[in-house]
Amino acid sequence: MSDKAKILIVDDEPLIRDALAFKLTKDGYDVDTAEDGEKAIQKIESEEYHIIISDIMMPFISGFELVKILKERGTDAPVLMLTSLNSETAVLKAFDLGADDFMTKPFSPNELSVRIKKLLKNSKK
């Protein structure tokens, strides 16, 4: 098994998904993608991820619902929400449901890298 940290990107926008995958692969992570919450759950059931990066507004299962389901199932992987929703309500709801970090679009890819490192470091403790 690879010793690289494994990241799952969940976003319905293919351009964002691909760009994030490119950036995080370049940073040395093992990256997998899912285009909606349903597919993300299927992947999480069959694979173990170290971090999940999820959009909020997605078809079928929203990012909020995804976090809720993951936390109910006891998934350990920290969840970082990456969304265009830029409101206090969204941030509070995300953290309330169990998200570990929150970033809004437009986002700085370098800042995302730093946050991922921090989340990984915290989750190892």
């Binding site: 760009a19 490119f22 700085s108």
Partner: protein
């Protein structure tokens, strides 16, 4: 075959005129249907080929853009990337359309990415030639192409195009004008707002909101130009300047604000009263009395009473009571009662209820003092 056609010809010739007409109509309809089907099929195949081309370009260009945006490239590698992109979009027939696809792609990335990636995208936009293309569209395009070009240039923060964009801030076409004004404020900040000095075209309320939203970025800066805008012949510019005064806390030019309380345009007058109230400019209370006497418009007079309720003291409470007791205009009586409530003068309202024994007095005070309403 020839004989068959001749037979049909004679058969048709022998028919009664009404049948001839029916058959003629059927033939015409069949021909029209065939033409329409061929047009639809051609359009569909054209659309399919455009989509296929778009997918191909995106597939080829995306990895290069990602490489540029997410990697710290050497200057020579950056130039190579630009060359590669140019080779992909280069085509005698479809260059414009291909550049359009590239443009949308870069703008999409730009809307979603920030930080260093943001600047790299802007650099790429310049080097690929998209900035130049937008400028050409701006100079020679139809109104909608010009408006889109201005929007693209401001989205991609092409500050060096500001001077050119400023030429369109008073354009005849409203969409070009609106985009140019918005882009000017976005790219040039408060200095670029000098276009308001000579603006002759009216500004819609929506446009004022858009510009205000951009202006909020320089909230604590002093806007030196606001004086001339308050004296503009264009009433919408005056209203916008008043909005800026209020939202950006521009306390200077208050003497000009006092003059605007007597403006010939009632909308300007109302906005000036509102600004006086919001800026807590209580020195203008004397002027508000005058305005109340001079104007005949109920809306403006009601606005004066509301401002008095916010700015006034015991003297204004007395005046409001006078309006409450003696004025016959229902809206003004109501506004005076509300203003007294805002001043916390429940005593005045209650004594009015006690003295004014009519149902009208009872209802007004009851309504105003009811916090649920």
């Amino acid at each position: 075959m020839r004989q068959f056609i001749i037979d049909i010809y004679y058969f048709l010739l022998a028919l009664e005129p009404r049948y001839k007409i029916v058959i003629f109509m059927v033939i015409v309809l069949l021909i029209l249907a065939a033409i329409m089907i061929s047009v639809v099929l051609r359009e569909r195949s054209r659309k399919n080929s455009v989509e296929a081309r778009e997918r191909r370009i995106k597939r080829q260009v995306e990895p290069i853009i990602q490489e540029v945006v997410f990697t710290d490239l050497e200057a020579s590698d950056f130039k190579d990337a630009v060359k590669k992109i140019n080779r992909i979009v280069d085509s005698t027939l479809y260059r414009k359309s291909n550049m359009g696809i590239l443009n949308e792609l870069l703008i999409y990335y730009h809307r979603n990415l920030g930080g260093e990636a943001f600047e790299r995208l802007e650099n790429l936009y310049r080097e690929i030639g998209l900035k130049q293309m937008a400028l050409e569209y701006l100079r020679n395009g139809e109104w909608h192409i010009r408006a889109k070009a201005i929007n693209d240039l401001s989205t991609m923060r092409m500050g060096e195009t500001l001077f050119e964009i400023l030429q369109y801030t008073d354009a005849d076409n409203v969409h070009v004008r609106n985009e140019a004004q918005y882009a000017a404020v976005k790219l040039g900040g408060k200095k670029a707002m000098s276009f308001l000095n000579d603006l002759e075209s009216p500004m819609s309320e929506w446009q004022q909101i858009r510009l205000l939203d951009q202006s909020r970025k320089f909230e604590y800066e002093l806007i030196d130009n606001i004086g001339p805008w308050l004296q503009s012949k264009n009433d919408t510019v005056v209203i916008f300047a008043l909005i800026l005064m209020r939202h950006l806390n521009q306390y200077h030019e208050r003497s000009q604000l006092r003059k605007l309380l007597y403006h010939r345009n009632e909308r300007v007058q109302e906005k000036a009263i509102e600004t006086t109230q919001e800026l807590a400019y209580s020195e203008a209370l004397e002027n508000l009395y005058e305005v109340f006497e001079l104007t005949k418009t109920v809306r403006v007079r009601a606005r004066v009473l509301r401002a008095m309720g916010e700015l006034g003291g015991p003297k204004e409470a007395g005046f409001l009571r006078e309006v409450l007791v003696s004025n016959r205009e229902y809206d003004l009586v109501m506004e005076a009662a509300k203003a007294l409530k805002r001043m916390g003068r429940h005593d005045v309202l209650n004594s009015y209820r006690e003295n004014e024994l009519s149902e009208k007095g009872e209802n007004i005070v009851k309504h105003v003092l009811d916090d649920r309403i």
